[in-house]
């Protein structure tokens, strides 16, 4: 079981959280091409290693925040607010 540090509630069990996928994706403008929209909606780096991702403390405070987590070791490298820029 992962222990995830919620920025509001501190260290809690993984089962209280839900992962919301890759952080810092920028929504394209409506005038953009299908190619750009396809990239935004579906294509991902899916890195083996450090991954910036959004999590929600869904069974706790309900707030979103960002993690940088290693997808091989699951070690959490940093935690920061949902509106902060990537570290």
């Amino acid at each position: 079981m992962l222990q995830i540090p919620c920025i509001h509630c501190g260290l809690r069990d993984e089962s209280e959280f839900s992962c919301g996928g890759t952080s810092h994706m920028t929504r394209p403008g409506l005038e953009q091409s299908d190619q750009v929209w396809g990239e935004y909606l579906f294509f991902r780096d899916n890195p083996k290693g450090l991954h910036g991702e959004r999590w929600r403390h869904s069974q706790g405070c309900g707030q979103w925040f960002n993690l940088v987590r290693n997808t091989v070791t699951h070690a959490i490298e940093s935690v920061y607010a949902i509106t902060d820029p990537p570290p």
């Binding site: 992962c19 396809g38 990239e39 780096d45």
Partner: protein, 415 residues
């Protein structure tokens, strides 16, 4: 050597010491017509069908570890074709048809056991959804039977069918042709048959880079040196994105851990496969007697090949609600495979943005059942440069055009 009863009999007189190596553990040559990256079921099947269907035998399968050591050895070994949409039904049913003839075709007993698959309905909504599903299968020419609760009970008497059950069983549907196959035998059967036709199976050979000339792939650099090829196919499941990055493109894939586990072996108690989409439980009994339990993904990206305890607990809880009689069993082994999940839970089989480079990925949680058709269709596009008709709907472009084959809600497991 052709495996036969006669060979067994002959071996009985000589202590069974006459069996040759099943396949050649080859060393890489400097050049091949076609290289397949990934020595799991899909990669080995691709190599076999290149040789068998297209007569292309100057082929290498490059495997980072040992063959069948990835997801081919990390699944619940269930085969079925109970999909909703015509494109998927055609694809997966062709796979099941190939499985039905595979032991003969490969001269290797893959231990296919068509013990049937029963989907459980736990609510009125489930009953309606399953009627639609079973009828969609019939429309696609795949036999499905809608079952009452008593009929489910007759097929799986160990289920808790009491009205007090927390997850009451109201009915369901069955695909009788579904079942299980021996996963190692599928990998080894394809490896042996491909090797006999001249394919080089090269283990401990990790691709570290793609060699390109004027934007076209002309070979790969590996941990065992440079290997050139006319065309390269990738069949690397959860590691597809890693290889795509080396080649210089991205995929609509996210890698997750999918775990499963087995109990200690017990006497025969369950002779069909039980799937409960409402809870995510996926239960069968192996030929050795173990209760095999699979379930939902660990829902965060992972390359770790191990599952989370929280999900393990949920799998076991769901299984025990259905089968309270399993509560005293000890768990014997658990494992997780890294699966390549695509938004619509349908595969990608065809060209990549890089000329001469082709891919078979995106099977997500359902790659094992698709091994024969994945190999058949990747071999086709590698050999001819044209998509196989069965793979036409499963191209990378669909994520730009929006023409998804959205089995995500239909393929039986929530993911």
């Amino acid at each position: 050597m052709k495996y036969s009863a006669w060979q067994l009999l002959r071996g009985a007189l000589s202590g069974q010491r006459h069996w040759p190596q099943a396949w050649r553990d080859a060393s890489p040559k400097s050049r091949y017509d076609i290289i397949i990256v990934g020595g799991g079921g899909h990669g080995l099947a691709s190599a076999y069908y290149l040789a068998k269907n297209h007569g292309i035998t100057n082929v290498a399968v490059l495997e980072r570890g040992w063959i069948g050591g990835g997801n081919t050895g990390r699944n619940t070994s269930i085969v079925r074709s109970n999909y909703l949409f015509p494109e998927s039904a055609r694809l997966y049913d062709f796979s099941l048809q190939l499985y039905e003839g595979l032991s003969q075709a490969l001269n290797f007993n893959i231990m296919l056991s068509q013990r049937g698959l029963v989907m459980l309905a736990h609510s009125r909504h489930d009953l309606d959804a399953m009627s639609r599903w079973a009828n969609a299968m019939r429309m696609n020419g795949i036999a499905a039977e809608i079952l009452t609760r008593d009929e489910v009970g007759a097929l799986a008497p160990a289920l808790d069918l009491s009205p007090q059950a927390r997850l009451p069983v109201l009915g369901g549907f069955a695909q009788r042709r579904a079942g299980t196959a021996r996963h190692d035998a599928v990998a080894w059967g394809y490896a042996r048959a491909a090797s006999a036709l001249g394919v080089d199976i090269i283990q401990n050979c990790e691709v570290v880079d793609f060699i390109k000339e004027r934007g076209r792939v002309v070979g790969v650099n590996t941990s065992r040196g440079r290997i050139e090829a006319e065309r390269v196919g990738i069949a690397a499941a959860g590691h597809s994105s890693v290889l795509a990055k080396l080649a210089g493109f991205r995929l609509p894939v996210t890698s997750y851990a999918l775990q499963a586990m087995v109990s200690e072996p017990i006497k025969p108690v369950l002779d069909t496969v039980i799937l409960s989409p409402g809870t995510g439980a996926y239960v069968s009994q192996s030929d050795k007697g173990e209760i095999v339990m699979g379930a939902m993904l660990d829902l965060f990206p992972s390359y770790a090949q191990r599952g989370s305890f929280a999900v393990k607990q949920a799998i076991i809880a769901a299984t025990l609600e259905l089968f309270p009689c399993f509560s005293r069993l000890n768990l014997m082994r658990q494992w997780a495979g890294i699966v390549d999940v695509v938004h619509d839970s349908s595969p990608i089989i065809g060209a990549t943005p890089i000329p001469n480079l082709f891919i078979n990925c995106g099977w997500g949680t359902g790659g094992f059942k698709a091994i024969p058709v994945g190999g058949w269709t990747l071999a086709h596009v590698l050999a001819t440069g044209q998509n196989h008709p069965l793979a036409e709907a499963f191209q990378l472009e669909r994520f730009v055009t929006g023409r998804l084959v959205d089995e995500a809600a239909a393929s039986g497991i929530a993911h």
